[in-house]
């Protein structure tokens, strides 16, 4: 609960970080918090790797001619950028790190339902990531992260380890989702009905459903591509009667919902952050919770909008386009609810809140350009151009990474018991938000102008916008460098944060920060709604809008 200001903040003597010591205690731990921390380190490394690739790609595009690398290197690099960022960073990022760390704390449980399975997920993730990385060392692959057949089945590059890595990471993702669903169903503290679950948990729940039901399809699909590449079984090979468009159907049946695997947890984070920093009951709790489920469900019906110019039938294009519009409505509901939550609040403008504000802009612009590219006739021009690249980076980087950073700052005291420097946090946030806009808004324009994606060299008329985008990306990178410095400082020397530095009412702040090994000594009893800033029975002013 909210701590009073006159007491100095406390730091527990024994907590989950120092309860056991030694590398072995980490590698064999079944503590969800430690597993979360190990995910944290892993995904940050993956992000660093993918980010370096991204910067090299941007530098390459400074001139229309070859700048620092050859065509084959470029093609491998954008593939690896995609594979690393999507399968190693985006998908495990928020569920793996914050889901693992916070889910049991928010539910009042001592651990997730299957702690050993949770550790297995982490090991599978490591194994898959290592395999995919070994594919890069063995020469790299040049298919793009989409592995479109028949190019992927005929490329001379090393594809198999990458496919196997994706397959194994897929299993890690399935097991994580399975674990979370069971946890949410069976390990809620007494008194926590379904309508008292924090919104972050709702988001993770919706995400997990997608992970469990969609990931097996991509697992099978990448294995079929692998088999096809090695054995030429003809399943996607037109010369043997196969249908390459079938591959696209199977691929996007997973990969479109996969977008929601990435963005739903981000939405959950924003719900928590906005509620906590405006000291408000979340406006329209039920609408936000149900729209998460709605996105998860409708997201499964929309995959065909990636295939408007692939030769898919005109009728199917229309059906998929219409359904895609519904996903937009669910997102719009959430956005309006977040903004309405700010209304009449008591807003503490802290770093996580800046990221949340950036998130709101990015999700609206990214989401609505998403609706725009789902408008069939417009997509004919935009498909596979930089407009699409900019659109999904607005969602993936703009929305998801903003939410990841917001979560990282908001829960940093929870995880480590120390706090970061607020001033530097704000400065870095400004750099990142501005740099992000400067990077990707030119890419919308260059896509409008007709520059296709995955272009190593490009016609000269696109030069100015590409230079602008590269310049913007340097701002973005600089912002991340600042974060690295003050976060490392905060980890070692940061001021003691106390149990609940934000006076947040989230259930996870009911434990000491950092939490003890088994979270709770006694099972907590939940007697109020999530995100409630009133004590039970307290008189409050009601405003209806």
């Amino acid at each position: 609960m909210s701590q009073s200001d006159d007491k100095p903040p406390t730091f527990p003597a024994v907590h989950y970080l120092n309860a056991d010591r030694g590398v072995w205690s980490w590698l064999t731990t079944v503590d969800h918090k430690r597993i979360g921390i190990m995910y944290f380190v892993s995904v940050l490394l993956a992000f660093l790797l993918g980010g370096i690739f991204a910067m090299l790609l941007r530098i390459e595009h400074l001139t229309p001619e070859p700048t620092i690398m050859g065509a084959n290197t470029y093609n491998r690099m954008f593939t690896l950028h995609g594979v690393v960022m999507i399968f190693m960073f985006m998908i495990p990022a928020i569920p793996g790190v914050f889901g693992n760390f916070l889910l049991p704390l928010m539910l009042g449980a001592k651990d997730v339902a299957f702690p050993k399975l949770n550790l297995l997920s982490l090991y599978l993730y490591w194994a898959g990531a290592t395999l995919a990385a070994s594919g890069m060392i063995m020469g790299g692959t040049d298919t793009g992260w989409t592995f479109y057949a028949p190019y992927s089945t005929s490329t001379p590059t090393t594809l198999f380890p990458v496919l196997l890595g994706v397959f194994i990471m897929g299993f890690s993702s399935i097991l994580t989702g399975l674990n979370f669903i069971v946890t949410i169903h069976t390990l809620r503290a007494p008194g926590m009905g379904w309508m008292r679950i924090p919104l972050f948990v709702w988001a993770i729940y919706a995400t997990s459903i997608i992970q469990v039901l969609a990931t097996p399809v991509i697992g099978l699909t990448v294995m079929l591509v692998g088999i096809e590449k090695v054995g030429h079984f003809g399943l996607f090979d037109p010369t043997r009667g196969g249908d390459p468009v079938l591959f696209q159907h199977m691929f996007w049946f997973y990969s479109h919902p996969a977008v929601y695997i990435m963005v739903l947890p981000a939405m959950g984070v924003i719900s928590e952050v906005i509620g906590a920093f405006s000291r408000k009951n979340i406006f329209g709790y039920k609408m936000i919770a149900y729209s998460s489920l709605g996105i998860a469900f409708v997201g499964f019906f929309a995959w065909g909008h990636h295939m408007f110019v692939s030769g898919q039938s005109v009728l199917d294009n229309g059906a998929f386009a219409a359904i895609s519009m519904l996903v937009g409505v669910f997102t719009a509901i959430k956005v309006f609810n977040w903004v309405a939550t700010l209304y009449k609040g008591s807003i503490a403008v802290k770093t996580p809140m800046l990221y949340a504000c950036g998130f709101l802009f990015f999700i609206v612009f990214g989401g609505m350009t998403g609706i725009a590219v789902a408008t069939v006739s417009l997509d004919v021009h935009w498909h596979d151009t930089y407009f699409v690249v900019a659109h999904f980076h607005f969602i993936m980087v703009g929305a998801v990474i903003m939410a990841f950073l917001a979560a990282m700052h908001y829960w940093f005291p929870k995880m480590f018991g120390r706090n970061y420097h607020e001033g530097w946090g704000m400065v870095a946030a400004c750099f990142i938000i501005l740099g992000f806009n400067a990077t990707f808004i030119p890419q919308f324009l260059v896509g409008n102008a007709g520059m296709p994606r995955r272009y190593f060299i490009y016609p000269e008329r696109f030069t100015s916008l590409n230079v602008a985008s590269t310049a913007g990306s340097s701002l973005l990178a600089f912002g991340f460098v600042i974060i690295v410095f003050y976060m490392i400082y905060a980890l070692v020397r940061g001021p003691i944060a106390g149990d609940n530095p934000w006076s947040s009412r989230g259930y996870e702040w009911n434990t000491p920060s950092p939490p003890p090994k088994h979270n709770f000594d006694t099972t907590p009893i939940i007697d109020r709604d999530a995100h409630s800033y009133q004590e039970p029975g307290e008189e409050v002013e009601h405003v209806v809008i």
Binding site: R188, L213, G241, G311, S313, D316, A319
Partner: protein, 129 residues
């Protein structure tokens, strides 16, 4: 879902499952064998377009019996049923989306050798007039 820790009651677990004994398993087993025979017989009859729907209908009945009684879904919790049904719904969604495409696609865009195409080797990629 309630989260009460304990309530005193009789020690027998899963009370409902005691309602039936091995007899029920025998019955299901015999029905399944009967359906297998039926599907083999109807499968070899020439029923034209009806062959496939009949085969799938029989398989579905068999699968339902296995799921409900061998796998005890008829008596397990709502969440388990929901999970299984939802997974089947998504299988249907996958099929529906793809078939919405295949059945209405421009015939030229179908693979060579598909019904709308001549199958002589000369015209591998030339659509039938």
């Amino acid at each position: 879902m309630e989260n009460k820790v304990s309530k005193p009651a009789a020690p027998s677990s899963h009370g409902k499952e005691h309602a039936h004994g091995p007899g029920r398993y025998f019955v299901i087993w015999f029905i399944l064998l009967g359906f297998t025979l039926l599907t083999v017989v109807t499968g070899r009859m020439d029923l034209g377009a009806a062959n496939l729907p009949i085969a799938i209908a029989i398989a579905t009945v068999k699968a339902t019996l296995v799921v409900l009684f061998f796998m005890h879904l008829s008596e397990s919790g709502g969440a388990n049923r929901l999970v299984f049904v939802v997974s089947l719904i998504f299988v249907l969604v996958l099929m529906l989306g793809v078939f919405g495409d295949l059945l209405t696609r421009n015939p030229m865009s179908l693979p060579s050798g598909a019904p709308n195409f001549d199958i002589s080797p000369e015209s591998r990629i030339v659509p039938h007039p």
